[in-house]
Amino acid sequence: MWAYAGRRILYAVPIAIGVTVICFGLVFLAPGDPMVNLLPPDASPADAAYLRKLYGFDQPVPIQYAKWLLRAVTGDLGTSLQTGRPVISEVGRALSNTIVISLGAVLLAFSLAFVLGTLAGYYAGRPADRALTAVSVVGVSVPNYWLGMVLIIVFSVQLGLLPATGMGSAGSDTFSLFNWEQVKYAILPVITLSMVPLGIIMRNTRAAIAEVLANDFVQTLRAKGLPETMVLRHAVRNAFPQVLAVMGLQFGYLVGGSILIETIFTWPGTGFLLSKAILTRDIPVLQGAILVLAMCFVATNLAVDLLQTAIDPRIRRT
């Protein structure tokens, strides 16, 4: 088990390095000069050359990459071109905000989806299953940014119950679940974000439960007279690792992919930070944010892999 864990972690290292290469290389996809946004239009070539040297753009690309990587490993991701603050603090703050809604969304999605998916798997093929599968298909196909707008229309515009945008005056340092003034800002984003994971987790749960219930041992259990609820408990315990894995993956996906929802609700998370950085061509923030998000995703995948193998040793991937 530990040998496998060690191998898996070792395997993640070249992946992480490749991720850094892509993060760094994304900048060079951009047409035009990265300096264009920084300089006033009437800047002289000497000014441009000076600024270029200051930011290190005049050196060959592999050297730039190596320098950037060395600084990044020590935690210095540069300074934002727009705000002048260190990138790491901006990204850190945004990340904690995003984790608030991502975690909420995944927990909500998981609890609902596991229950509904188990029911769907248990009643596989019958009308109840079809109705529930319809819910999951809807969850997967709905454009979540549109759903966010619809929820805003219903709850903020027509009913006036919940605020439409923003995170309120408090940041995530003082965020507490028991303070309605803060939580009410998070409710709509969490519900919106949870829709797609709900659909995906429900689909996986249904498939896993149906597969487990088709096993021979279930027939044995029933033959020996075990009541249905107990049989269901056995099925749930067997299907649990797979579904947990999917849930972990969805969490990682949400942290990296919440950009659209955060734009709609103006939630100051990593997605919002990214969209601002893309619009203003704030390259250090872009590189830093994408790097942090991708690393989180790699770490989440690794954790999920190891957890899954720990719970169910039959699952092994080289």
């Binding site: 996809l29 047409p31 298909v137 940014y145 549109w146 759903l147 707008m149 619809v150 619009l279 995703f297």
Partner: protein, 232 residues
């Protein structure tokens, strides 16, 4: 804007007008062209590229396989929305960068599926028999491998179409898609967002169009899976 923005059923405008007074129904229909294009093309391109890479990797095996699959794993390490937005944003937005970005996002999963399927088929006896009877690698691939790989790849690709429609509309929503005044559902959603307090129903229309399109492709994909895959 309040005078130009009209509700559903206003005079001759069956579905109302947008904030500049343009008819919503015709904009939705024309926007559908763009959405279908951006939904289908990236998946086709990605299937061609990813499928070929996967089959080659699975068939040749060894070092080439490792090289291709590890590169795919690196791209797999990014959440797809993030990667699509990063690539498209870096390339400056616009239709072509969106198409390229989405194709790049879809290549790794398709490649992985093709490679898994090819590896499974490669070890079967009938492939060995074909090789023993002197068939060239090319004809083995064409006659035996592709037939087996096609089913899982097509099923997955059809489910990717709905994701592609959603992602491309999302890209336009962020302003990384086509330029106005070209109609595009995501772009319409984003500009109508400001009118949410005035005419809520009209604002929801482009999103409903995206939803219905994505749902339809999802159902097609499910049906394809039921038809092709005897197990489920």
């Amino acid at each position: 804007m309040a005078f130009r923005l009209n509700p559903i059923g206003f005079r001759d405008f069956r579905l109302g007008t947008d904030e500049l007074g343009r008819d919503m129904l015709s904009r939705l229909i024309w926007g559908g062209r763009m959405s279908l294009l951006m939904g289908l093309v990236p998946v086709l391109v990605a299937t061609a590229i990813g499928g070929t890479l996967g089959v080659v990797a699975g068939f040749v095996g060894g070092k080439l396989n490792m090289l291709i699959m590890r590169t795919m794993d690196i791209f797999y390490a990014f959440p797809s929305v993030l990667l699509a937005i990063a690539i498209s944003g870096m390339m400056g937005g616009g239709m072509y960068s969106g198409l390229i970005a989405l194709s790049m996002v879809f290549v790794p999963p398709l490649c992985r599926i093709a490679e898994t399927a090819t590896t499974q088929v490669r070890h079967l006896d009938f492939v060995e028999a074909a090789r023993a009877s002197g068939a060239s690698s090319g004809s083995i691939i064409l006659h035996h491998v592709v037939g087996n790989v096609l089913a899982p790849v097509l099923i997955y690709a059809s489910s990717l179409i709905s994701v592609s429609v959603l992602l491309s509309a999302g890209l336009s929503f962020l302003g990384l898609g086509v330029e106005p005044p070209t109609p595009d559902w995501g772009l319409m959603l984003s500009t109508l967002r400001q009118a949410i307090y005035v005419q809520p129903l009209v604002c929801a229309l482009p999103g409903a169009a995206i939803f219905i399109t994505s749902l339809s492709f999802n159902l097609v994909s499910d049906g394809l899976r039921h038809a092709m895959d005897v197990r489920i």
